[in-house]
Amino acid sequence: MATQTTYKVEPLETYRWAKEVRLKHFKEVMDAQAEGHMLVTGNMNAPKDLIAGIGHYVFMGGEPWAVAMAREGAKDLFLPALEAMEKQGFARDMCAFCRTFSGSMFLGQTPFGPFPKPSFVLGMNQCDSKGKWFQIVADHMQVPYYCIDFGLPNTDGTLKPNEASIKFLLTQYHEFIDWLKKFTGKPYDESRMVHALANMYKVRCLWGEVLQMQATSPSPLEYKLLLPFFLCLEYFSYKDEVVKLMTALRDETKYRVANYITPLPNEKYRVLHDGLPPWYALYLFHFLRDHGVSVVGGSNHTMFVACAQKPRPDGSFNLMDPMDWDGIPKTFDEALKWRANVEYISNMFGLDTRVRLLFAREAYRAWKGNGMIWINDRGCELFSMGILEVKAALQKDGVPCMMYESNRCDVREWSWSQVADHMDAFLEAVGVPKSEIKKDLGGKLGEKE
């Protein structure tokens, strides 16, 4: 059993900044048309950064807007949006991000105002839902839909790049840029695009450094604190402001490590949470904190670690190998090639159980875990794919494991009592003495955070 030590707790200054960036983004989307900016909607990994070549644009990402519905719109929009989808004839077990976002579109409402009409829809076809989801959006909005396909190739289960798959992505990027020029009638400034991609690169370097520091005990940050950064990383990392934000996060994390500052006064156990959290029930993480359990990372982090690390030539992967700062893309071709590689790696993480296992083992080892939690998300095939196999393999390795079934973006599928059923045994396996395990959420149930 770990010994009790009390660490210094200080709020993370950059956390507030990240939340501001998030809120500012929602406002930007609402104001885009009035301010004469092109608004584009699409999914998380759509190559929105390539749009930078034609000038200023605003990207409304489906997933963060679904999260906003689950949080900011929780009171009066979240359930009506889910029900609006069902009224359209869509099944209740479909991707909950899709149902929440598209339901909001059918209602014509978002938590920040009327659902805006985009100029076009940009998708990246990865899981079974992403491509089809934005087809629904484009149909309803009656705007053009441009979708890029990730060609999942045959591989040996490592991260060795597959030439044909990367070439397929590259060709499509070029085709998209040609289409964009025609669609907007605007010239394409390659240097703007290279700048956007160089920002993405820098943000990933910084993120890699931050995640490396998470290996420190006590951990300077934890899962819940990282969530708004994760959003910035994935959606706006092409922006100068996000480079600044991530630089500040890296520096603040360094300071925290040097001064033993942590989010938990009593970090005794370190666990990983794989899958995205139930956004309407983040108090789950407070419950863990109350037991001295720090959630140091998870698959969303590892996934982006994938984008922040350099796989070794043999396709293996080490969490402690960050990207080289001197590799920042400088030319149009370098930028596109780098983007295709990042796309390739992050897709392999989700779509190949073997790669997923590689990551889970590596993250557990590098972040010095004492246990691993999975959300078996009924509303997301991608994040649930392979998790039973990964869990079984880690269990065989002797890792304390817990899996709870829920739905990150459909509150109707959340049951604390079901989660709690698994929690007792898990916390005990992690090392929490039986007598210290709390039975309830300590009054947090129903609270927003």
Binding site: Q88, G89, F90, A91, D93, M94, C95, G123, N125, C127, D128, S129, G131, K132, W133, Q135, I136, D139, Y145, C147, I148, D149, G151, L152, P153, N154, T155, E163, A164, S165, K167, F168, T171, Q172, E175, L351, D352, T353, R354, N376, R378, G379, E381, L382, S384, M385, G386, I387, L388, E389, A392, E405
Partner: protein, 373 residues
């Protein structure tokens, strides 16, 4: 003769075992109809589709999350229970994530000497999709060569293409016999022919089809004229379901799913680069929802089938938890209705009792009768 197809389907494991004993050849199981069987035949191996038993099972639960479809769980269960112990290997092409999970778990838990994943683009309309698929087919051919220790020549590929094309061509002729009123073959019989073709040596199967094509025009026991239905939707290989629908007086005259017309609809058009010809065949085949992501090409194809086979109504069947079809059904339903086609939606679980299907089909047939008045 016509019973032969259903019999073989019912005893497909016995058939494959017997084929192995008779020929000494290898058998590869495949999970999705986007697997290029041409190359497998060219390698001198028998491809058989992996299907479920349509029975409830409890062995897949430890491997596949609960929100995956019953079909993929049923398929994996057959492997875990040893029903496919005669397979020398398995092949998967990129289809839905449900099936990909069944494939991946199979490779982890069931001993086999060969497994291969063939990348298949989803946005088949992209100019570069063919190049990507060609690279994947080349890798597949090389993997087979390595496994078998022999070279697959152009002549072998020609043979593979010819075996597949002949069977496709004959099945199209059978489907034409469903156009008249009454149709010359029932939906149950036609479906048994398609499914059995996935489970047998196509050279033999084509002989049976040729024989059937000679006999059918003379048959006296053909179906009686009834309400003409199209069936559309997720995977379905439950002949009992067709029997049940047809016992109610309907004629299932056409369908669009991977156990039916989509499997054999188009042929590979020969060209110098054989693998390219095969790649183009899969790029151009009628699309499943997951391959209909950019421009919706599936809808006009479906409407065309409704018209050509003169279907009075469309039964939209959807396997429980089948995301690809869940995404498409509301839109295709709307599209068909806008085009004056009467539709009826039915959710299915292939491993569960079909009692309610009868009641629901009756309701739909009554609806169609009222429409006719």
């Amino acid at each position: 003769m016509l019973e032969k197809f259903e019999q073989t389907y019912n005893q497909h494991h016995e058939y494959a075992r017997e084929w192995k004993a008779r020929t000494g050849g290898k058998v590869l199981g495949f999970f999705c109809t986007y697997v290029p069987e041409e190359i497998i035949y060219a390698a001198g191996v028998l491809p058989v589709r992996i299907i479920g038993s349509l029975e409830p099972q409890d062995v897949s639960e430890a491997h596949i999350a609960g929100m995956y479809c019953p079909f993929c769980r049923d398929c994996l269960a057959q492997g875990l229970k040893g029903k496919y112990d005669y397979l020398d290997g398995i092949v998967m092409s990129k289809s839905c994530m449900h099936m990909m999970q069944a494939y991946r778990s199979w490779t982890i838990h069931i001993p086999i000497t060969f497994h291969h994943f063939v990348g298949m683009p989803a946005l088949v309309g992209k100019a570069s999709a063919g190049d990507f698929l060609l690279a994947e087919l080349t890798a597949f051919k090389q993997a087979l060569e390595k496994w078998l220790g022999k070279t697959i020549t152009n002549a072998d590929l020609d043979k593979g293409i010819e075996i597949m094309n002949t069977n496709r061509h004959l099945l199209r002729q059978i489907y034409d016999l469903r156009k008249p009123a009454p149709p010359k073959v029932t939906g149950t019989e036609a479906t048994a022919m398609v499914i059995s073709s996935m489970l047998t040596d196509k050279r033999e199967h084509s002989q049976w089809l040729s024989e059937a094509l000679k006999q059918i025009p003379q048959r006296q026991d053909g179906p009686k004229a009834g309400t003409r239905l199209m069936v559309l939707g997720s995977e379905n290989h439950d002949l009992e379901l067709f029997k049940l629908i047809e016992e109610l007086g309907a004629n299932v005259v056409i369908e669009d799913y991977c156990m039916g017309s989509r499997y054999f609809w188009n042929e590979a058009v020969p060209e110098n680069d054989r693998l390219k010809a095969i790649a183009q065949r899969y790029i151009n085949r009628p699309r499943c929802p997951l391959k209909d992501v950019d421009e919706r090409k599936r809808y006009p194809h479906v409407l065309n089938l409704v018209k050509e086979w003169n279907a009075q109504g469309v039964l939209l069947i959807q396997q429980k938890f089948c995301d690809p079809h869940e995404f498409d059904i509301p839109a295709i339903n709307k599209f068909l209705k806008e085009n004056g086609v009467v539709t009826y939606f039915m959710e299915l679980d292939v491993t569960m009792h079909k009692g309610s299907v009868r009641t629901r089909t009756e309701a739909f047939l009554e609806m169609l009768e009222l429409e006719a008045v």
